[in-house]
């Protein structure tokens, strides 16, 4: 036990991760400790098993996952960076040459889009919509009810009539939503 002084220097590639994701040093440190706590066998990455051990996550119908089987710390932080509250700077001031920050509105939307677009082909098909809905309701809803819901949703969002929802159509249907607030998690000081 004893004293617990720590610096960001202890995190491998700490500085580059900070620049890429925009997290403060203190937040990064907390996430690092959280990563270490979840990584039970100290493998250096998180497996699907480690995430499933989180009770509240297993209950979440999406098991809103980080997707891959192996997530190392930079990957972990990159995903969580999408949920960083948006900075209050004037968008006009941002240097257009720099890549868009991970927590911009577009990137948040892209993240949500990927949850629906299971095969990553850039479109949410009716079939994919059905699959995701099925995850969220389990066995509580019949197939017909689910199909009608999926049909209606795709129809409403689909503008060019190709039977699937592209990313732009997705973004358009959610243009009024305060995504910045709904997809943000604030880290306490």
């Amino acid at each position: 036990m004893g004293s617990r002084g720590s610096h960001a220097a202890r995190i491998p590639d700490g500085d580059s991760i900070r620049r890429e994701t925009g997290f403060s040093q203190a937040s990064l440190l907390r996430l690092y400790h959280r990563f270490r706590a979840l990584d039970r066998n100290k493998k250096g990455y998180l497996s699907r098993m480690d995430l499933q051990q989180i009770g509240a996550l297993a209950v979440n119908p999406l098991g809103c996952g980080v997707g891959n089987l192996r997530v190392d710390f930079p990957g972990f932080v990159r995903v969580l960076a999408h949920f960083r509250p948006v900075d209050d700077e004037d968008p006009g001031m941002r240097d257009p040459k720099e890549p868009e920050p991970l927590n911009s509105r577009m990137n948040k939307l892209r993240f949500a889009f990927q949850l629906y677009d299971l095969d990553r082909d850039g479109k949410i098909s009716r079939h994919e919509m059905l699959q995701v809905l099925r995850l969220m309701v389990g066995v509580q809803v019949t197939e017909e009810q689910l199909e009608s819901i999926a049909d209606r949703t795709v129809q409403e969002a689909d503008e060019d009539g190709d039977g699937a929802v592209s990313f732009l159509e997705f973004a358009k249907s959610l243009e009024k939503m305060d995504i910045e607030q709904k997809m943000s998690i604030r880290i306490l000081k």
Partner: protein, 431 residues
């Protein structure tokens, strides 16, 4: 060589004298009070001094850190992220309201935006969930030296305590059954537990002692470490419940049973819930037998919360005497993380920590009401314990430490959400 001779005898003499002094001190200050249950108040003074030293040391360290401009890592106790305590329904409605351009007189069935709720909740739990952090030692905001050297003394004391227990109970076991035997066995047990308490330098404050468990009842407490047993048993007479172990524990268990009836289960019997319930009921119905001591959480929790109580002990129908145990974390972390330390390492750590300070509250007895089932009763008792001890009352199963969560919880969430998207559909089709 000849010059050494007089010095030799001097050294031998000194050694002899110091040993005698040591033993007398041992006897006077520890064993005798242990037998009679008297305390000199020395330990309370020791505790106050320790507190002052720790506060000073923390201040020094913080000042030093500020000067060097380092970021001193302040461990969190309440959570990493800001969470809103709203329900699934409210949040999804709010999300839909903020995004929908349609009039909301018919609540729509399903919106693409619903996914935001699950997504965010999922991420929140990845970053910070209520359960995982209960299984790592509570993190402190102050600094303390958690070890000290020269633990031979404590080990000797513990050894004395345990051997006395074994020898004492065996001897008492040879006596014929009767009042005298009971009296003696109680006191032998008590004495040995008190010696162990002193070996651990534990300073315990008991509250509301008039509520102490009586014969024919079940004593229920939250579980942080194996020391809980010693702490409770040094202030009352209990019958223990547990699995039969081999080795040293087995010897102790067999000896204890000779003096008065405890309930030890074979490993195979533990799986059979009915058998366990039957034996416990038999024990409880015999009013001459001591109250049973049970820890319903089933595993050690890190003393910041109380987790789900297993309902077995609450089905028996006896009076339940809840007890809340809260350790003061400033003096030493009493939590036994069984995946990190083995039992022996843990006990050594406990003995070498400066002190173990804890408070024990005896709560008034509770019985199961006619319209309550075992689970509700268990939850009621659990809330009472959590409230008294200042711990967080959680619904989660302590078994999550080792196993995955049951699917029934997931189904509950799915049911809730389905009602939102389909329940409305039914209303629509009716109108």
């Amino acid at each position: 060589m000849f010059l050494l001779l007089p010095f030799d005898s001097l050294i031998v003499n000194l050694l002899g004298i110091s040993l005698t002094v040591l033993f007398t001190l041992l006897l006077v200050f520890i064993i005798v009070p242990a037998i009679f249950g008297v305390s000199f108040g020395i330990r309370k003074l020791y505790m106050k001094t320790l507190l002052k030293i720790f506060a000073w040391a923390t201040l020094r360290m913080e000042r030093g850190a500020k000067e060097k401009n380092h970021q001193l890592y302040k461990p969190y106790t309440n959570g990493i992220i800001a969470k809103d305590p709203t329900s699934l329904e409210e949040e999804i409605k709010e999300i839909r309201r903020s995004g929908s351009s349609k009039a909301l007189d018919n609540t729509p069935e399903f919106e693409l935006s619903d996914i935001f709720y699950f997504c965010r909740k999922g991420m929140e739990t990845i970053m910070d969930d209520e359960v995982t952090k209960r299984f790592s030692a509570e993190e402190l905001e102050s600094w303390n030296l958690l070890s000290r050297t020269n633990y031979n003394f404590q080990i000797a004391l513990a050894f004395t305590g345990i051997s006395l227990l074994v020898v004492g109970t065996t001897m008492v076991g040879y006596l014929p059954n009767g009042r005298f035997k009971e009296f003696l066995s109680k006191h032998v047990h008590l004495m040995c537990y008190r010696i162990c308490v002193r070996a651990l330098t534990a300073i315990i404050t008991y509250h509301d002692r008039e509520n102490r468990p009586r014969n024919g009842g079940i004593c229920v407490a939250n579980h942080t470490s194996p020391i809980d047993v010693i702490i409770l048993a040094s202030d009352g007479y209990y019958a223990m419940v547990g699995q039969v172990h081999g080795g040293l524990m087995g010897v102790i268990q067999r000896a204890m049973v000779k003096a008065c009836p405890h309930v030890w289960f074979e490993r195979s019997e533990v799986k059979d819930r009915h058998l366990v319930a039957k034996r416990l009921t038999e024990h409880v119905q015999d009013k001459s037998k001591l109250p049973i001591l049970i820890f319903p959480e089933g595993t050690c929790i890190n003393n910041t919360s109380v987790m789900m109580f297993k309902k077995g002990s609450f089905e028996i129908g006896a009076t339940v005497y809840p007890v809340a145990i809260k350790y003061d974390p400033q003096f030493g972390d009493a939590f036994w993380n069984s995946s990190k330390y083995g039992m022996v390492t843990y006990l050594l750590r406990m003995m070498t920590s400066w002190a173990i300070v804890c408070s024990v509250w005896y709560l008034p007895p509770m019985t199961r009401e006619t319209d309550e089932d075992a689970v509700q009763f268990a939850n009621r008792v659990k809330s009472a314990i959590a409230r008294q001890g200042g711990l967080v009352d959680l619904l989660w199963d302590g078994g999550l430490k080792r196993e995955k969560v049951k699917d029934t919880f997931k189904e509950e969430q799915q049911k809730l959400y389905s009602k939102m998207i389909v329940g409305n559909h039914e209303d629509r089709s009716r109108s």
